[in-house]
């Protein structure tokens, strides 16, 4: 009888300790999850910000101004474009009568 009691007591103690330990684990993991979720949110915000920065910096008006003024570029005209047709042959653009001089 006493041996059974001692055994049960030992089992009870083991259960109690494992409960304490799993509670502790659960709290620790929840904390970790919370931190990870916070990081995810922060990264999300950073991503939005970077996307926005990318869009603002690659604004067409900025590119247009840079290409025209800083780089001295001109829009490509169909006269100076070679068109590739999917059937395999290229269409020869006819020579443009008013092609800009710096390209000739």
């Amino acid at each position: 009888m006493t041996r059974l009691n001692a055994l049960l007591l030992a089992v009870l103690m083991a259960c109690a300790l494992s409960l304490v330990s799993s509670r502790y684990q659960a709290r620790r993991l929840l904390g970790a999850l919370d931190t990870a979720q916070g990081t995810a949110r922060k990264l999300d915000v950073d991503w939005s910000q970077l996307q926005l920065d990318q869009a603002s910096l690659s604004k067409h008006s900025l590119i247009d101004a840079a290409a025209r003024k800083d780089l001295g570029m001109q829009p490509a005209t169909p006269a100076r474009t070679e068109y590739i047709i999917l059937s395999g042959k290229t269409s020869e653009p006819q020579p443009a009568p008013e092609a800009p001089s710096e390209l000739q």
């Binding site: 929840l30 919370d34 939005s48 869009a55 169909p78």
Partner: protein, 577 residues
């Protein structure tokens, strides 16, 4: 003391009265009773109150904000996006800052010290915003100053990456991140998202240790992908701007539509504004003229009258009509052509844009048929496009038409339309006689149209419109190197105070390209051009040409006509108004 044993203590010998021990016992009993009553009170009667109080000390409800959805163009470029910001607020009576501290706070927030002082002086108020929409970096610095009575509150700031280029289409949100104009207003429900909250238990150090319950899970707003192509949009906007400035016009609008899917590829308006900087906005800048303004379309409406006459078998493209001597009287009113043309074929009526020719053909049509034609191409009905304030225009019921009105309506007077309606109506010529619904959102499925005129007639009109936009038509400036184009100019007197103003015009051009296999419809409208001409062929057609040339290249459309220099006659045909 040492000598006396306990049992020999004299105190024991004293005979105490029996009531005294009973009295002590009674007191002890009373004590226990009091404890019992107290326990009963705490455990049974006030347990709810105590439990709530206890919970208040460790359970917290955390607000979980939802981010407003982004707006993107068809290539995934972000057009509008919300990023977290902070509002700095204060309880004036708690603020006890030195002059120096106030000065540095004012510098940080970029607010004059005097204004800050004024806000903090209103001691009767418990709450005052010092500045809203402050960036997190600045807010951190304010936090580090550690001033008493200064608090922060989370909010969002919305940025618009493309600025004025598409301001009227996207619209903007207010300081609470709620849509006020444009797509932001129309799709507020989808974009907004729902903030959530969760209930947690926090430990002594403020760490979350247990999730009690999720009261509401937050839902972020939906991202919207528009049909707009950023590059074509910029092309459209910059060319429109150049035209409005060159002709010193009051306003301008342009819309580009994909003929196959009904997607709006570009939609621009002038005057415009920067949605990131809205301190001085006027109503004129806010208006999305493409959708919310109507104008009398003038000659751009003629092809529909002719298409109806062809369909009814009243005329063929070769039928000749005498338009001499450039004047034609109906009842008491006289209509005129800009130049007297003599005998013209139906094709030439469109090419030279003759009012008289169109009116003479229209008078052979039934008003009911004309009304039916205009209605079936969407005039008089607001387009279902999901934009706030899209107007229906005015198309009076045919029973009230007088003959002169029927004649003038045939060439676009006496009825009003929005530019979007005109662009949509032209899809019947750009396609095979069917009209398609338009959309502002990206789609990959080809649109299914409703047949309005037979394909053969659409093709005949397309040919006429190609001539109108050619060297001998009213809009030679609409030509594009490498692509065949088709389109019609419109020049109309504006109505000011109920009468046609003699010197105020709306010059417009609606057309499509490449004419052999149309891909895009472009409609341009220039309001009150004052310099360098006012005809649609002079003010709007060049914008059409520039936009079509760039847009077709962007879309990778193969040239369909020989690449040669354009023939633009010195003095093109004047258009009739």
């Amino acid at each position: 003391m040492k000598g006396i044993q306990f049992h020999a203590s004299p105190v024991l010998a004293i005979k105490m009265p029996a009531w005294r021990s009973r009295f002590v016992m009674f007191l002890i009993f009373l004590g226990f009773l009091a404890l019992l009553v107290r326990a009963l009170y705490l455990q049974v009667f006030s347990t709810d109150f105590l439990q709530t109080q206890g919970e208040m000390r460790y359970a917290r409800t955390l607000e979980m904000p939802a981010t407003r959805g982004k707006i993107m163009d068809r290539n995934g470029v972000v057009l509008a996006s919300s990023v977290p910001a902070l509002a700095i607020w204060a309880v004036p009576e708690d603020v006890d800052a030195s002059k120096q501290q106030l000065g540095s706070l004012a510098r940080l927030l970029d607010v004059p010290v005097a204004e800050l002082r004024k806000k903090l002086a209103s001691a009767d108020r418990k709450f005052v915003y010092l500045k809203r929409q402050v960036s997190p970096e600045i807010a951190d610095e304010v936090e580090r100053m550690g001033l008493a009575g200064i608090h922060q509150q989370k909010e969002f700031h919305r940025f618009y990456s493309q600025g004025e280029t598409m301001a009227q289409l996207i619209g903007f949100t207010n300081v609470e991140d709620i849509g006020q104009e444009g797509i932001e207003l129309a799709w507020e429900k989808e974009l907004a998202g729902q903030p959530g909250s969760r209930r947690v238990i926090k430990d002594r150090l403020g760490r979350v240790v247990e999730d009690v319950a999720s009261i509401r899970t937050p839902h972020d707003g939906r991202d919207l992908t528009l049909s707009i192509d950023g590059q074509i949009q910029y092309l459209a906007f910059s060319n429109l701007k150049a035209a409005v400035e060159a002709h010193k016009a009051k306003a301008g609008a342009i819309v580009v539509i994909d003929v196959r899917t009904g997607e709006v590829l570009a939609l621009a308006n002038l005057p415009s504004y920067n949605p990131n900087e809205r301190s001085d906005l006027s109503g004129a800048q806010l208006r999305n003229r493409v959708l919310t303004d109507t104008y009398e379309p003038g000659s751009t409406l003629k092809p529909f009258t002719i298409a109806l006459a062809l369909e009814k078998g009243i005329v063929t493209p070769q039928t000749t009509i005498d338009t001499a001597p450039g004047k034609f009287t109906i009842g008491t009113a006289t209509i005129r052509d800009a130049e007297a043309h003599g005998v013209l074929s139906v094709t030439d009526i469109i090419r030279v844009s003759s009012n008289i020719g169109t009116a003479k053909i229209a008078l052979r049509l039934q008003p009911q048929d004309m009304w039916g034609m205009f209605t079936s191409v969407g005039l008089g009905q607001a387009p279902h496009i999901g934009f706030p304030g899209a107007v229906a225009g005015r198309l009076r019921p045919y029973r009230t038409w007088r003959p002169i009105e029927q004649a003038t309506m045939a060439y676009g007077y006496g009825l009003s339309v929005s530019l979007m309606q005109m662009a949509r109506a032209y899809t019947i010529f750009a396609r095979n006689g069917d009209i398609i619904p338009l959309t502002l959102f990206k789609t990959s499925t080809p649109a299914t149209g409703v047949q309005v005129v037979p394909p053969g007639i659409a093709l005949e009109i397309r040919h006429m419109l190609e001539l109108a936009a050619g060297p001998t038509g009213t809009a030679p400036k609409a030509q594009v190197v490498g692509y065949s184009v088709a389109g019609k100019t419109g020049t109309a007197h504006k109505i000011v105070a109920g009468a046609y103003a003699p010197n105020k015009y709306v010059g417009s051009f609606v057309g499509f390209a490449p004419a052999s296999n149309p891909r895009i419809v472009v409609a341009v409208m220039i309001d009150e051009p004052t310099e360098g001409g006012y005809y649609g062929g002079d003010v709007a057609a060049p914008v059409f040409s520039a936009v079509v040339s760039g847009a077709l290249r962007t879309l990778g459309v193969e040239p369909d006509s020989p690449i040669k220099s354009l023939i633009i006659p010195q003095d093109a045909l004047s258009e009739s108004m």
